[in-house]
Symmetry: C2
Subunit: 375 residues, 2 copies
């Protein structure tokens, strides 16, 4: 096992365990992350529809930004020149960037993969670009997030031979990312791949764990597989990843997904879902979703979720939110984003408390029972 | 002179005069308005792109909403059922509604005017509706703003015979509005019309003043006439309107327009300009406008206006705002709305202070001199 050559400002203290769930503190140069934690997504250096002040107010502490988007616009060199992402977007708290890989591989028709990297066309102007492990790290170093990600390849979950090839590339690229990284104030996380194949997941977890990353991500899930398959993969991988380092499940952000992930030992999550649903008139609650365009809410004086302490629920009725949605007012997206993020962040705080109190299983049982009753 | 038959919770105290400018306090059921004052516009029961909390934070105290829009959607009866506008949109401070007249008369092709009122087609679904003075007051009573407006007709500024007819109708309708009003917790303002014709403005000011309204508005300005013409009309009208009642200039919201209006005795202004410009990538400052899409701002680390204390200028560079604009992020509209409203509201506070200090003429001289130097 190699270890990061430069002294690290990062460390992970586990405060309590409860089954496979863990409550911890991940120390970063921009503050402590109280895990388990959910990271809202600020693709283009803004969590859509809200200000950093509102993001702080809903309880966010870690924000994800997308390397692919920021590399193309405004450009990582400009962001570096302006003092890095934290300063650029006025978010003085911890940040995470992805590697750009996921977005590039999603450009199915306009990208070409080889062993060295990926050539692709910009979705903005069609210009040709190339990402390699070294280039991804260089961009992420310019952006300056606290947590940065290894450049990996996410394959379709059920294609075994593709997953074998993608995993091999992901492993080779992980080593190149480690060698390319020079900043000591960033923690580089390795990513486990392997689709829905337990043996591939096992091989990937073992290999990635052997490289000595300060944290590990589980990629290639929540991309079309079933929930039992996802849970099985989490169980395989988390039994092999080092206990004492944070584990990050990429792309999961439903209330039930968060509970299921925490029960299986996940410490960090991110997802565009709560913010994207907000911009599509949809409120998230622990019990299910509400589409505010529904005429049933026309005269409904109650808040989205009675008892919810978010700014939106404290001040606005479903009837008002429906009016904003029907009138196509921007405030609808803002207020729903505030509520949806608050809902997930409060759920994470409750999960953390229940781990510290030693009763996360009871909490989860109650959570799923309530959900069944109302759905 | 008649007087409002019911006991009124409204009163206007003038604290200081400086030339024709006045600093006062207009007491309303939802709080005191420190005049001169600028009212941001919340057409559909939301000041576009910001929350009421942000609106309060930039220093707004009076918000205007549009009767035409809210009558059509979500409907004034629904708003009344939900507790009125203040409660509906969560703005516990003073509010003002217009009469709906200006919007209806703007529907040039789909409205028909007679002596009793106006028949028009909805811009939303083409359905036919009718507004009369009595109907406008009934809607405004359902909406429940503190200040409501008489139903008037705004004619093109240079058409004398149209202005004569529109003025006669406006006067007849003002009397009908006074008779129709039943709520004692709303102040009904009369509106002076008369285009750019001093004799018509004089006749209108004298007639409207004779009806005993608790406040007066000057309509039909900022609709295509020149600035000297507007100033001449303000001087004619304000020399005739009672000194001891607030005067409201409708539709003016440039920094220079506010200064010029205050110097001529105006106490209240409203305008969509600062919020509309914000949604078109444009920042307002006392010295002029900045279009943030301009490539010159690409690497510009300075705030929109150095020294500005607004949330936007305290936290974000022009380079970041330009990025948001180019990337079509909603946050651009929010941050520019915050800045633009703050700029106008701070200017109003400074104008008020300079009236209280007896030096508004010096303030205005300096304001226009600085503007000339930089433009």
């Amino acid at each position: 096992m190699n270890s990061d050559p430069s002294p690290s400002p990062f460390s992970f203290d586990i405060q309590a365990r409860c089954g496979n769930a863990r409550a911890g503190i991940f120390h970063t140069p921009h503050g402590d992350l109280l895990t388990p934690i959910f990271a809202p997504v600020g693709t283009q250096a803004t969590v859509k529809a809200i200000t950093p002040a509102q993001l702080h107010e809903v309880g966010a502490s870690l924000v994800l930004a997308n390397t692919y988007h920021l590399y193309l616009r405004p450009g990582d060199e400009l962001v570096a020149q302006l003092g890095g992402l934290h300063s650029f977007m006025s978010w003085p708290h911890p940040m995470l960037t992805d590697s750009g890989g996921y977005q590039v591989f999603s450009l199915a028709d306009t990208r070409k993969i080889d062993e060295d990297g990926v050539t692709f066309k910009s979705h903005i102007d069609g210009s040709t670009h190339r990402l390699t492990p070294e280039k991804s790290i260089a961009i992420q170093q310019n952006l300056g997030a606290d947590i940065i990600m290894a450049f990996d390849e996410c394959a379709p979950p059920y294609d075994r031979s593709y997953n074998e090839r993608a995993m091999a590339r992901t492993h080779a690229w992980a080593e190149r990312c480690l060698r390319a990284k020079t900043r000591s104030d960033q923690a580089l996380f390795g990513i486990v791949q392997g689709g829905v194949f337990p043996d591939l997941r096992q091989a990937s977890a073992e290999f990635i764990a052997s490289l000595g990353f300060p944290g590990h991500a589980i990629g290639g899930l929540s991309v079309g597989e079933t929930k039992p398959e996802m849970h099985a993969m989490l169980e395989v991988v988390n039994s092999l990843l080092p206990e004492d380092k944070p584990r990050y499940l990429m792309g999961v952000g439903t209330p039930e997904g968060l509970v299921n992930g925490v029960l299986r030992g996940i410490d960090i999550f991110d997802c565009v879902l709560p913010t994207r649903l907000a911009r599509h008139n949809t409120a998230v609650t622990r019990l299910g979703k509400l589409n505010l365009v529904n005429a049933a809410y026309r005269q409904d004086e109650s808040p989205i979720q009675p008892g919810c302490a978010c700014y939106t629920c404290q001040n606005f009725s479903r009837a008002y939110l429906r009016h904003l949605v029907v009138a196509k007012e921007m405030l609808a997206a803002t207020l729903l984003t505030v509520h949806n993020l608050y809902t997930l962040l409060e759920l994470m705080r409750d999960l953390r408390q229940s781990i510290l109190a030693g009763c996360v299983e009871d909490f989860a049982t109650q959570f799923f029972a309530q959900k069944r009753v109302t759905s």
